[in-house]
Every structure is written in structure tokens, then in C-alpha cells.
Amino acid sequence: MSKDLVIKDLQISVQGNPIIKGLNLAVKQGEIHALMGPNGSGKSTLANGLMGHPLYDIDSGEVIFNGVDVLELEPNERAKLGLFLAFQYPTAIPGVSLANFLRLAVSAVRGQSGNGSGEDHLIPMREFRRELRDKMKQLGVDDSFARRYLNDGFSGGEKKRAEILQLAMLEPKIAILDETDSGLDIDAVRIVGESVNKLVGPELGVLIITHYPRLLDYIRPQFVHILLDGRIVESGGWELTQMLETEGYDPIREKHGIKEE
């Protein structure tokens, strides 16, 4: 059975300010969606709200993932169901190597970390190392990555590649990429785009949240949505990105009577 992420009339506020104002969207496993919008339209709020960030308040609506309402669940429980967020600004965890962190995370999402502690609950070291090596090779990530402290002193491009490596290891059903192209030069965008492309397939649904269409040159979405003022105002296909490329957001704002913020 395919695993769907269904968002119904979702409203999210931050410190009392409504940001997402009634959003509807369905992403199926195997589909690639792009959610495009200008700064301040609510893109990152949606991403964080879907993953369960404590500072984002869900005011109403439903998020059903694989038949379960995830809004009551902790972020780690959402991850275990197969939801993944690639962060716009991944946080550094000094002193924790990427490999040690990933081994615990992979064990957790695969249900091997039931009681939390001890070697027994972790996937066997040899198995993990082999898998990590394979995935790093597939994504062209340098071996030294595994030993470095998580996001600590990483360049912008390295952080995004580390996010994609985590995506590859955790094998989610639905992945949300929050502005994965932001702050990257054109070569880095290409590398990240090609990496994601290696991971897409019938098992993975992707929601790419982005400001610019350039990442979409590498990961071609089947569905494109435009987010303005906390709502999806247009949905379509590839032609929407072409239109944005040439005309920008102004014609759409005008059409829907939304003032630039």
C-alpha cells in the first residue's frame, strides 16, 4: 500500500502570528512535488510544523500520514513512521560524529532502539558501516565525513550533503526538502540535486520547498504548487516553474489580490 501524506486545511502560527492559513496538499510515495513561494510566504513554517517543531503552533487542520494523524506525535515518532525533513539550517552537534549519530538514528527508525540504551538495541556495527560506506559512495561523499562532528564546521554545501546522506540512510517514505538549494553556489546545487535524484523512486515521495526553480532543473517535479500568504494559490505541472522563471511572482499576486509583504 502506498504511503500518503495528506494535509487538510492546516493552520499554523508562530508566536501568535498566523502564518499558514488553511493549506491543503497530498503527497504520495513515488511522487515529486515542488512547493514554491517567495520569502515570507510560509514555506519553512510548513516544513517545521509538519515535522513537529515545538515553537510552531498548529491551530487547526489535520496531517494524516499513512492513515495516522501525526499532529499529536513527537518528532521522533513522525520520523519512525517515515517522515523526513532536510533542514534549511542544520544544527551543529559538537563532539558527536556523523557515524555515531546516524547509527542511533537508523536503529531508532528501524525499530531497533526500543529501550533506548545499550549495544543490543543498535544495528550491528559491521552491517551499519557497510551500508554507510555504500551510501556515501553512491552519493559521492568523502569517507572522512563519517568521522566528523555532525554539521560542526561544515560548509553550507557540506551541511546539505550531510542532510541528503541522512535521507539516504533513514529511507523515509516522504521527504521534505526545506530550501535545500539556499546558500549554495551553482555547482553545489547541481551536486545536491543529482544526489537527491539518485534516491527518488517508487518508494520515496518528495516535497521540495524552494524559492528559486534552479534545484528543479536537477529534480524534475510532476506537481508544482505556488504558496502565497500561507495558502496554495496555484497547482499545476512543470509549466508553472517556467512561468515563474520568466514573470516572477507578481502576476500571481495580482491575480489573487495579495499584496507583496
Partner: protein
């Protein structure tokens, strides 16, 4: 904790709060009455068969102790009753060199602490202190061959009286402070190490310490002499049983780093929550020598410990790396002291503390540069991690500079576990507790990576135990 382990602890009827807090029903062969006076000291000297100079040394230290007022700074010592403590307990009649000779019940305790494994892995000399006396002391043949002396201090006084007498109490005199005086009067056990010129000891020398008699004071006395160009790493790790009444641990550690030598002294302490841990540790470092203290403090009711290095000649270097973990009802008053007594000496202090569940950690540091000691460098970094709003962290740095041509840097940071860090790790499937534990383990990684492997594993496990049930 594995289920089987849990069952064992429950079957023994021991509080789960403190995993290593079991104690075996061992009959000490001699136990002094509570409190300390000249007759207790004389009795102790008689039983030990100590030379007269040591008897006089103890009695003199006792007089100094009696004159010293109660220490007023640092932590709260008002509950500490010196008259309610046993000052001398002997668990076994003689020091053992072979595992086969160790009594069964003592072995059982060691077993549960995993010491036999540690011994198998690390075929260095194992000096394991049981009660006030070293009962098990195994020196591998290699140490003898290269002339390294590694004995319990009581035995060293008998076998190498001149060597011990030459240095004993010269680094930390009895009058140094109240607890140094007490230790000098009542000391028992501890290690004596001498490394001859040019000898590099390839593996760490290890000692395990353990308190096992209710109300028993533990006053080890350790003296390490690294002769010219030698190198040695000494490791001590402690676990202690839980008791309802107060316990006092007050050790003295003296180290001499001769020209060009290098000494590292590593301590991991995990005292039960009723122990006062009041330790004086000091090293003198001569020309081009290097002294490193690596100090991890968990548990105890109050720890007051400030490893220090006196850099006496040019080129000497002192490094102090310390981690303190203060949990509920605990005060870790830890820090470091460095004295630049000669030109071109260098020091580095790295202090990390974690406070949780109302625990309090303080950094107390002293950097001193003597007049005329040109070209000295000192770098101090204090990092505090506070896990909740009930917990507390303070720093009390003192810098005394008598020389303008010097380079001192002091950095202090206080941080809380960030919501963003927790969210990030939890979004990858980790529970809040796993995420917090991972952040704390990352925080202490600079210390853990300096430890021998089995200590690193134990340290991470201790942190995990400390963090259990800390969330929600």
C-alpha cells in the same frame, strides 16, 4: 540497563539509583574506632609497622590539622563531622600479588566492577584498593625489568624508604590546607610510582579505588616521580557503594616531573551521592617537562578538587582538562591552578561542567605568572552546560600577573541544550532522552577521547545512567 543486570541488582535488594552502589559483606580484619586522635594514629602506625619518621610525620600533621579552622570557601562542609568517621580499616592482612590469592568475597565485588576484564585487556600493573589497604597489587614483570616501581605507598615506605622519604610531602606539605593535613595524619594506601631516567612506560598504570565500610574515611596518598626524560600515564577510576550516612574521601596526590619528562594522570570518579570528595593534587614540572591532568568528576555530595601544576623551570608545560557532572543534591567545585614560576612556560586549562536536576557546578581557577617569568602563555577555556532551570553554574577565575611580557587568554561560555539541537536529533528518530544524552556526550567528548578505551566506554555509560529518567 540490560534486564539480567537489573534483576541481579534487584535481587541483591540494592537501590537502582546507583548501579555500582552494592557492597559486599566483608569483615575487615581491623577497624579503628571512630574519630582521629594521637592514640588512633599510634595504633595505626603499630599495625602497619611504620618507621618512626612516618609516625612523627603523621603526629605533626595531626597537630596542624587540629589547629586549622574549618574550610570556609568552596562548598558547604557544615554537615561533615570529623569525629564520625573511621580513619583506618584494613580488609586483608597483606598485599596480594596474584589474583588467586585474593579472597573470594573481594573477588566477587571486583567481578561486578569488571576488573578482571580490565586486567586481561590491560596487562599493566593493577593496584586495586579495597578499603584502606591495597589487597591486590600485581606488577607485571616488564615493569620490574625496566626499573619502574609501582607499589602501594605503604609497601613502598618499607621497600624504598630513602626514595619515598626524599619526596613525600615535599610537593604538598601537611600545612598546605586542612584536608592535606588530615590526609598526612591518616593516610593509607594509594600508589607510589618511580620511573627511571629515559624510560617510557608504554601502557597506562591503573589503580582502582573503592570505599566499602560505612562511615569509613579514605585517605590515599599517591606519589609519582618521573625521572629525567621519562614518560608515564597513571589512571585511577573509582566506584563507591551507596550508604545513608556521610563518607569522606580526601586524597593527596603529589607528582614530580623532572627535566624533559612527561606525566599524564587520569581520574574518573563516580562517588556515591553521600561522599565528600576533597582532594589535593599538585605537580611540579621542571625544565621542558610536561604535566597533564585529566579529571572527570561524577557523583559525590561535594567535590572540591583543583589539580595544579607549578612550572618551575623554562619550557615546562601544564595541561589540565576537567569535566564535572553535577546532578541532584550535588555540588562539583572543581577547577585548576597553574603557577608560571619560570620564563617561557605554557599552560592550558579546559574545564567543562554539566549541571542538571538542581545540581551545582563551579569552576574555581587560578593562573599565576611570577615577576620576571617572561614569555609565558596560558589559555583557559570554561564551558558550562546547564540542562534545566533549577541547575546552576558559576565561575571563579583568579588571574595574578606579575610580568607584563605574557599572554593570557580566558574564555568562558555557558550554554543550555538548545531546542533546535533537540528538535534536529528528534526529527531523525531519537527520543528526547537519547537526544539529550547524545548532546551531553558530545559536550564531554574532548575528555573522553583522551581516555583509555574501556574508561571511555564506562564514561559514556555513566553519562547515560545519569541522564536516565531526566526527561519528561
Amino acid at each position: 540497563m540490560a534486564t539480567s543486570e537489573k534483576n541481579t541488582i534487584e535481587e541483591l535488594g540494592i537501590s537502582k539509583d546507583y548501579q555500582y552502589g552494592f557492597h559486599d559483606d566483608i569483615k575487615p580484619t581491623f577497624k579503628s574506632r571512630k574519630g582521629l586522635d594521637e592514640s588512633v594514629i599510634n595504633e595505626m602506625c603499630d599495625i602497619k609497622g611504620e618507621p618512626d619518621w612516618m609516625r612523627q610525620y603523621r603526629l605533626n600533621a595531626y597537630r596542624i590539622f587540629k589547629e586549622k579552622p574549618m574550610t570556609k570557601w568552596g562548598g558547604d562542609l557544615s554537615q561533615l563531622d570529623f569525629d564520625d568517621i573511621y580513619y583506618y580499616v584494613k580488609a586483608s592482612d597483606r598485599s596480594e600479588r596474584s589474583w588467586d590469592d585474593v579472597p573470594e568475597d573481594i573477588k566477587k565485588t571486583f567481578d561486578r566492577l569488571g576488573i578482571p576484564e580490565a586486567e586481561r585487556k590491560f596487562l599493566a600493573g593493577v593496584g586495586a584498593q579495597y578499603d584502606s589497604e591495597v589487597v591486590y597489587h600485581n606488577i607485571v614483570e616488564e615493569l620490574d625489568k625496566i626499573g619502574v616501581i609501582f607499589l602501594d605507598t605503604d609497601t613502598a615506605i618499607k621497600e624504598y624508604p630513602d626514595l619515598v622519604k626524599k619526596y613525600f610531602g615535599t610537593i604538598i606539605p601537611s600545612a598546605d590546607n586542612q584536608f592535606a593535613a588530615l590526609n598526612s595524619a591518616a593516610w593509607s594506601g594509594g600508589s607510589f610510582v618511580y620511573v627511571p631516567p629515559g624510560v617510557k612506560v608504554e601502557y597506562p598504570l591503573q589503580a582502582y579505588f573503592r570505599i566499602n565500610t560505612e562511615n569509613m574515611g579514605q585517605f590515599e596518598r599517591t606519589l609519582i616521580i618521573a625521572d629525567e626524560g621519562s614518560q608515564v600515564h597513571y589512571v585511577e577510576g573509582c566506584t563507591a557503594p551507596t550508604y545513608s550516612s556521610e563518607s569522606l574521601h580526601s586524597a593527596v596526590v603529589e607528582i614530580v616531573c623532572m627535566k624533559g619528562s612527561r606525566v599524564r594522570y587520569t581520574t574518573i570518579q563516580n562517588w556515591a551521592n553521600n561522599v565528600y570528595n576533597l582532594v589535593t593534587k599538585r605537580a611540579v614540572a621542571y625544565e621542558d617537562s610536561q604535566m597533564e591532568w585529566v579529571d572527570g568528576n561524577l557523583g559525590s555530595k561535594l567535590t572540591m578538587k583543583y589539580p595544579s601544576v607549578y612550572m618551575m623551570e623554562p619550557g615546562a608545560r601544564g595541561d589540565i582538562l576537567s569535566i564535572a557532572f553535577a546532578s541532584k543534591g550535588q555540588h562539583q567545585d572543581a577547577g585548576a591552578k597553574v603557577y608560571h614560576c619560570a620564563p617561557n612556560t605554557t599552560s592550558q586549562i579546559t574545564s567543562k561542567s554539566i549541571s542538571k536536576d538542581g545540581g551545582r557546578s563551579s569552576y574555581r581557577g587560578w593562573v599565576d605568572v611570577a615577576k620576571g617569568a617572561k614569555g609565558c602563555k596560558s589559555h583557559v577555556v570554561c564551558d558550562a552546560l546547564i540542562l534545566d532551570k533549577d541547575s546552576r553554574s558559576d565561575t571563579y577565575p583568579v588571574i595574578e600577573i606579575g610580568e607584563s611580557d605574557t599572554n593570557i587568554e580566558h574564555e568562558a561560555r555557558v550554554s543550555k541544550i538548545g531546542e533546535e539541537q533537540l528538535f534536529y536529533l528528534m526529527s531523525r528518530g531519537l527520543s528526547e532522552e537519547e537526544a539529550s544524552t547524545m548532546i551531553v556526550n558530545g559536550f564531554i567528548e574532548p575528555l573522553v577521547k583522551e581516555l583509555p578505551m574501556e574508561y571511555a566506554v564506562e564514561m559514556n555509560r555513566l553519562i547515560q545512567l545519569q541522564m536516565e529518567g531526566s526527561v519528561g
